[in-house]
């Protein structure tokens, strides 16, 4: 099957500033694909290049095999859900939804019918004749979604569509968006800076930073097997420790942690020398005789968890998460504890 979107070596320069440095990635048909990264990483630029709002300085963008890099946005069979929705303020909700169909010269009856179906899909049939300004933020968001889906695009682009909603609504919309993507079978390309959003909805995620794609993979892959410091640090919470690799044998490396502790970890091609080690806070446990010895500094109550901040002998802080449960003992600050690192939980990073 042809891939939905294929980006080959796309470069975007604004004068002397390079926003994208030769990005290449492939988005499969019927995939929920997320571009994730901090602001300024180039994710929105890339999305806007796919939509046609930014021209491509160098490289190719292929949509189902066809190079669209030089096509005007109104000739690209993709639709966009804009960050602030950009609903036409002078048109009723139903006219907004029907606008794309009208531009495609769909007959009035047919487009009214289709627009009404779309509104039903997003549970807004009762609001068809309102103006956008008369709707709440969440409702406007659904109208924007219905408007972008009405012309049955081959690919739907979503530019941080949930960022303007409050937390509860955002969480509900995540489930709905994923459901909608599965029901319609349309390829979704979703841009966000919110890693939780990315992890919960996406089939695959491209983590971006400073105009480069750092890693592409499923949520589990990028969370559990980050390829570098940036990805490990950006996705979730982690302990990044500077370590020295002393020896590598049979894919296992022996490393020295700050404070002199030695640990055996999996090595993914790293040689001897200085590297960073990532240990997720929830992948460590308190034991009598752990790999590491530390002193509890502080315990922070977080509801579902307790965050324990412990210090290694040289003072390096380590964060760990303890489930809020009667089965888990809570250490008092100042207590000397042993830390057990789960097998495979400590990852040696590329840089």
């Amino acid at each position: 099957m042809t891939d939905a979107v294929e980006i080959r070596n796309a470069v975007k320069r604004y004068g002397n500033v390079t926003a994208l440095h030769g990005v290449s990635l492939t988005i499969r048909d019927n995939e929920f694909f997320t571009l994730l990264g901090p602001s300024g990483c180039g994710k929105t630029t890339l999305l806007r290049m796919i939509a046609g709002f930014e021209d491509v300085t160098e490289g190719e963008i292929r949509l189902f095999g066809q190079n669209i890099a030089n096509l005007e946005p109104n000739h690209r069979p993709v639709n966009t859900v804009f960050q602030h929705y950009a609903l036409f303020p002078h048109m009723s909700v139903i006219d907004n939804v029907a606008f794309g169909l009208k531009m495609q010269k769909v007959a009035q009856d047919a487009r009214r019918k289709r627009a009404a179906e779309m509104l039903e899909m997003v549970h807004l049939s009762a609001f068809a004749d309102r103006l956008p300004a008369q709707l709440s933020g969440g409702q406007q968001q659904r109208v924007a979604l219905a408007r972008a889906l009405a012309p049955s695009p081959k690919v739907l682009l979503l530019d941080e569509p949930l960022s303007a909603l409050d937390l509860k609504l955002r969480q509900a919309m995540r489930v709905e968006l994923k459901q909608l993507q599965e029901d319609t079978g349309i390829t979704f390309i979703f841009v966000t800076h919110d890693q939780e959003e990315a992890l919960t909805m996406s089939d695959r995620i491209a983590v971006m930073s400073a105009g480069h794609v750092q890693q592409i993979g499923t949520a589990q892959e990028i969370y559990e097997a980050p390829v570098n410091r940036f990805v490990a640090d950006f996705i979730g919470e982690t302990n990044l420790l500077p370590v020295e690799v002393l020896s590598v044998r049979d894919g296992r490396a022996e490393v020295t942690l700050p404070g002199g502790h030695r640990l055996q970890v999996a090595a993914a091609g790293q040689g001897i020398g200085k590297h960073h080690l990532s240990i997720r806070p929830e992948r460590m446990a308190l034991t009598e005789a752990g790999d590491l010895q530390a002193v509890v500094d502080r315990v922070v109550y977080l509801g579902t968890d307790r965050q324990v901040i412990a210090r290694l002998e040289d003072g390096t802080p380590l964060h760990l998460r303890l489930q809020n449960s009667d089965r888990v003992a809570v250490p008092a600050p100042g207590t000397r504890v042993g830390l057990a690192v789960e097998a495979g939980a400590a990852r040696l990073l590329a840089d």
Binding site: G52, F53, N74, N79, M103, A148
Partner: protein, 306 residues
């Protein structure tokens, strides 16, 4: 746009005591310099004219009679409709409409251009638009007269480059009046449209393009309806003063093309005038303007309610 309750009025009592003295100068200014002259004009239009200008304090409908009815040379024939002044009004409306259209045609792209410049240079462009207005309107109109006259620089230049062989007759035509009005009132068109376009979010244009609209359709269906309040405001701000203008028609239009403003001005010139008639023409003009404004306000309200 503010919804109910978004505008918190200060509690009664606490503000009233300060508000009244603060507003007094405003009320006095409006009363003395706005309402009183209008009232005076209304009263004068119903008085009897005195021969060397001025009025006699005696009620009369003669001014309005003179405007609307033709009773023959000696005033003893059965009245028919008097077309002379209605024609002047019609011509004024046409001239003002022409000038407004010209201002819109040039003003909209100008406003668009300025509003789409980087924020740092917009101020300079707006400043440049207002520079000519530091010179007195009379001087500017006279200069325009020199520019477009038969052997003026415009005709010289056009003949010099060989575009025309005979000088163009621009001065003393309707076009000259419209050019004069256009020159006088262009900023009144540019500024409100600029304000509207500056607030316009280009995400709407992107959304339209994303939904398969080409540039022309986007302009017609999205941009123009959204910036419409600015366009309407600009048209009103140009049309109304154009309707009553007398400098441009007097200096550029010649005797055939005189407008309401000139007609009114004539009536108050020393001993030749007819004050009650001048006042009556002013009242009729004001009524016309109020009707235009009222219709526009109604349309704007309807649009907001929709």
């Amino acid at each position: 746009m503010a919804g109910p309750g978004s505008n918190h009025a200060p509690g009664p009592g606490s503000w009233r005591g300060i508000l009244v003295p603060l507003l007094l100068p405003t009320w006095a200014m409006i009363g003395i310099f706005l309402l009183l002259p209008v009232l005076l004009m209304a009263v004068y239009s119903f008085l009897t004219k005195e021969f060397r200008g001025g009025v006699e304090w005696e009620f009369s409908l003669a001014a309005y009679d003179q405007f609307f009815l033709n009773r023959g040379l000696f005033g003893d024939e059965p009245p028919t409709v008097e077309w002379t002044y209605i024609t002047v009004f019609a011509r004024s409306i046409a001239q003002a409409a022409g000038a407004t259209a010209l201002c819109l045609l040039i003003g909209f792209p100008t406003a668009w251009f300025i509003a789409t410049r980087p924020a740092s240079s917009r101020g300079i462009w707006l400043f440049l638009i207002t520079v000519p207005y530091w010179v007195n309107l009379l001087i500017r109109t006279v200069s325009l007269r020199f520019l477009i006259r038969e052997n003026g620089p415009l005709n010289d230049a056009l003949m010099g480059v060989g575009l025309i062989s005979e000088p163009l007759q621009i001065i003393n035509t309707n076009l000259a009046v419209q050019l004069g009005l256009f020159y006088s009132y262009l900023p009144f068109m540019v500024l409100p449209i600029y304000a509207a376009v500056e607030r316009y979010s280009f995400a709407y244009s992107e959304a339209a393009a994303d939904l398969y609209a080409n540039r022309w359709v986007t302009l017609r269906e999205i941009v123009l309806p959204i910036v419409r309040p600015g366009i309407v405001a600009g048209c009103i701000l140009v049309f109304i003063p154009s309707l009553g203008a007398f400098l441009a028609p007097n200096l550029l239009g010649g005797a055939k093309n005189f407008m309401i403003g000139s007609l009114i001005e004539e009536q108050f010139k020393k001993s030749l005038g007819n004050w009650p008639f001048g006042a009556a023409v002013s009242m009729i003009l004001m009524t016309l303007v109020l009707i235009v404004l009222f219709v526009q306000a109604r349309a704007a309200t309807r649009q907001e309610v929709r």
